[in-house]
Amino acid sequence: MMRVRIDPRFVPPMFITLILIVAHTTFGILEGLERTAIAIVSAIAAELALGRMTWGRWPHPASAYISGISVGILVRSPFVWPYVFASVISILTKYVLRLDNRHLWNPSNFGVSALLFLAPDTVTLLSIQWGNNIWPMAVIWMLGFVIVWRVGKLHVSAAYVVAFVVFAFVRSGLTGVPWQAALAPITGPMYQLFIFFMVTDPKVAVRSKSGQVVVAVVVAFVEMLFRLNEVIYAPFYALFLVGPAALLIERAIDRRQAPAVHPAAG
């Protein structure tokens, strides 16, 4: 029997597309398919144009597809322009905000965070349940964990989830809010995208496995600090700050540990 091998780069896009199709056909989660389509097309077009002009070759569109579809799912706005801007800004950051030949931010994390911060009157975030029973959530969690396990990032997602739960109880203890309410956000679909596609982005992760776990925990910790200050988009802002900081710290450590090169006297 012929065995079908799937290019691993297509696995995350296929998974996120599956989530989208199931969620929208079942619950109508999107503002409209056309807006999500606009976000995807904008991201891919930007990627193709920028990649071609920058590197002289056509880049693989999988990454841009994930950025675009993430924007299309996460951004909620009655206007069309935020979908275009968030997607194009996401892709642009990959070409502008670079260090040692790698980009610093998860693209859609940057694009969405920028829109939320700069356009609070017209842009918000997906903040609802998909449906009202446990099965869609359970299926997405299981599939999500299988996917991140396959791409070797299960430890990152798991570390973040455990840390979030622990910090939720800490927040509950500090604020008097019921622990169920403190935990509630992680049961929502926004977090499913965040946990499986943003925190785990290999392009912006530190190299060591233990380092990745530490970064995930620190993201959850900074998120807790934001939440204690009632910042609604806490996880996005936390990742926005912690992700690049971790890369910069890793770079500094690398430089310190690298053997010093002394020019020959003469």
């Binding site: 619950f27 109508g28 999107l30 503002e31 409209g32 920028l50 002009m53 920058t54 590197w55 909620r76 706005s77 009655p78 206007f79 322009w81 935020p82 801007f85 194009v88 800004i89 642009l92 950051t93 070409y95 502008v96 905000l97 670079r98 920028a114 829109l115 939320l116 700069l118 356009a119 609070p120 009157d121 017209t122 842009v123 918000t124 903040s127 609802i128 349940q129 998909w130 449906g131 009202n132 029973n133 446990i134 959530m137 008097g176 809010v177 019921p178 169920q180 309410a181 403190a182 935990l183 509630a184 956000p185 049961t187 929502g188 926004m190 939440r227 009632e230 910042v231 609604i232």
Partner: protein
């Protein structure tokens, strides 16, 4: 990557980030009302003046206090109940209005128009004041309709509790007939309308459920009473449809007619949207999608929300109003939702018919953003009406959820719980305590005037609407028989406001008060198309619209500077069509079916 290319991309990124700020700001500016103007300023063609005290109306709404298990979130649980409905209950030619109260033991008010610009509360004398006694629930709204066709408007009162029907006995008293007409013992409702869905000449009644009817909010057996989802909840109260049997009783037929859903209904309105001659039913539902029930020639309803476009995107629906905003003879639907900068921008919906489905139903397109009526804060009631008599329908919206501590906000905690799974959001115990904080409080109402070119312009401050109470119900009525639409606003835990309207001179109008003979006597469902100066506008007599509101039954048309009406076509609910040729302008026409 070359330095030049990197510089170009960097410049582009910065430009786009700046662009985000600029576009966001420009949208906010475009939606912002012009500054308040001098009281004599009529540059918008009209101006409101708040006159409730001068007119003898000093009504302040009181909220209920439910079971102590809800104490921590009481302000939002007890956040509805301020309502107002207009009718000329004593047939003296002057419009009166009924106002609901919601405190346990509080009194509702029936303001009779004295005809001299003042009002007197006659609710106690007429027997419709003391309706909030402990154990019977509290009022959340009322609608007028002549269910027995005796020529006098009867009063249906819906509550979180026992609904009541009062028969108008010749305009001199009301007789409580609840026990003999077949109403359920307990319904937690925020919406009801009269309409003759089967066109048999007798008014039927739709009653929407909000909290489950099994819930007694004063004596909770469980705290698992909350919506199971913020946008997909179907665990609300059931809807009821009472068919008028014509003998003073009703038959409950929601299940058989296909409207017995459980979607936390907050507003209902009926009109012939599909062009069948039968009224279709639109429901704005909290925590979910809207529903549009297409009338199957009186034999039942089919839900067509997805097919027609209005029931696809779940939001927090709170209003249902119809208006021929383009003067093309087709009714658009305005549904309000929640918009809170930085948290949740659902935006309001303006569903405009743009075509037909394969089965001949209208296909609606949401033009709220295009036309500038999308952002209204935590929006509640809204109504269409020609406020400046220029010949196009304008829009008045009231808003604000809970105004408590100033510069405090419950939004973070609200957003946190709202996303939770049903095991979390569905239990009131899990909701964070409000602790005196506001939730979208102190908001400014919106008054959007229709420029006739496809845009609405916000002018509330400029025309004198400056209050920041928590508005719930807004209705229009020509209280002084002056040929203008005055506005009455019922505020939650706030005063009832009367905005008297003053329209610039030189603007003409025409109005119609219909009386059915073969049709239901209130003529609810009658469709009137006025043709003047090459223009036309359609309105339908309504048995309730907006949020917990009912406008005057009269239909009011502004004509601009045109002083001649060519023709008026009246299609009665019975199907009969009467045509008036060149009726006089600047006057109210009383028209009986077939005469």
């Amino acid at each position: 990557m070359s330095r030049t290319l990197h510089l170009i991309w960097t410049t582009l990124l910065v430009a786009m980030l700046v662009g985000v700020v600029v576009i966001n700001r420009s949208i906010v500016e475009s939606r912002r009302a012009a500054a308040a103007a001098e009281s004599g300023d009529l540059r918008r063609g009209f101006r409101f003046e708040e006159v409730s005290a001068a007119r003898g109306v000093r009504f302040v709404h009181q909220a209920p206090t439910f079971d102590a298990k809800l104490e921590h979130i009481m302000p939002q649980i007890a956040s509805m109940g301020a309502a107002v409905a207009v009718a000329d209950f004593d047939r003296d030619g002057w419009l009166d209005f009924y106002v609901t109260n919601s405190g346990e033991g509080s009194l509702n008010a029936l303001y009779r128009n004295n005809g001299d610009g003042t009002f007197a509360d006659v609710a106690a004398a007429m027997g419709v004041a003391d309706v909030n006694r402990p154990g019977t629930g509290v009022s959340t709204g009322a609608v007028w309709g002549d269910y027995d066709n005796d020529g006098y408007e009867d009063l249906f009162l819906y509550k979180y509790g026992r609904p009541e029907l009062f028969r108008n006995d010749g305009g001199v008293r009301f007789e409580r007939v609840t026990d003999r007409v077949g109403l359920p013992a307990w319904v937690n409702s925020n919406a009801a309308i009269w309409f003759d869905f089967d066109r048999d000449g007798w008014l039927d009644l739709f009653l929407g459920g909000y909290w489950s009817e099994s819930v007694d909010l004063w004596n909770l057996e469980t705290t698992r009473i909350m919506p199971e989802s913020f946008e997909y909840a179907e665990n609300g109260g059931r809807n009821y449809l009472f068919r008028n049997l014509g003998d003073g009783t009703f038959e409950e037929c929601a299940e058989a007619m296909g409207v017995a859903t459980r979607r936390w209904t907050l507003a209902a309105a009926a009109a012939d949207l599909a062009g069948t001659g039968y009224p279709d039913l639109f429901l704005a539902n909290d925590y979910g999608i809207s529903e549009l029930f297409a009338n199957q020639e009186g034999r039942g309803f089919v839900e067509v929300g997805v097919e027609t476009g209005v029931g696809r995107s779940p939001k927090s629906g709170m209003n249902a109003a119809f208006g021929d905003i383009f003067n093309d003879g087709r009714l658009a639907i305005y549904k309000t939702n929640i918009s809170e900068p930085g948290v949740l921008v659902q935006a309001n919906d303006l569903w405009v018919p743009r075509g037909l489905t394969a089965s001949g139903l209208p296909v609606f397109e949401n033009l709220a953003t295009t036309m500038g009526v999308d952002l209204g804060g935590w929006s509640w009631g809204a109504q269409f009406g020609d406020l400046n008599n220029d010949g196009t329908l304008d829009l008045f919206l009231v808003n604000g959820y809970v105004s408590a501590g100033e510069r405090t906000s419950y939004w973070y905690d609200f957003a946190q719980i709202a996303v939770g799974h049903n095991r979390i959001i569905g239990d009131a115990r899990n909701w964070p305590a409000m602790r005196g904080r506001s939730l979208s409080g102190y908001q400014h109402s919106r008054v959007w005037i229709n420029d006739g070119q496809g845009r609405f312009v916000e002018v509330a401050q400029e025309v004198g609407v400056t209050d920041t109470f928590d508005g719930r119900s807004i209705v229009f009525a020509d209280l002084g028989n002056r040929g203008v639409l005055d506005a009455i606003v019922a505020n939650q835990k706030g005063p009832l406001l009367i905005y008297a309207n003053r329209v610039a001179p030189g603007r003409h109008w025409i109005a119609f008060e219909l009386e059915g003979t073969t049709s239901n006597r209130s003529a609810i469902g009658a469709r009137v198309e006025v043709h003047w100066g090459g223009r036309r506008q359609v309105q339908e007599v309504s048995g309730g619209s907006g949020f917990s509101g009912q406008n005057q039954r009269r239909l009011h048309y502004g004509l601009g500077d045109v002083d001649h009406v060519d023709r008026v076509v009246i299609r009665w609910p019975s199907g009969r069509v009467d045509t008036l040729e060149s009726p006089a302008v600047d006057r109210l026409h009383r028209v009986r079916e077939g005469e």
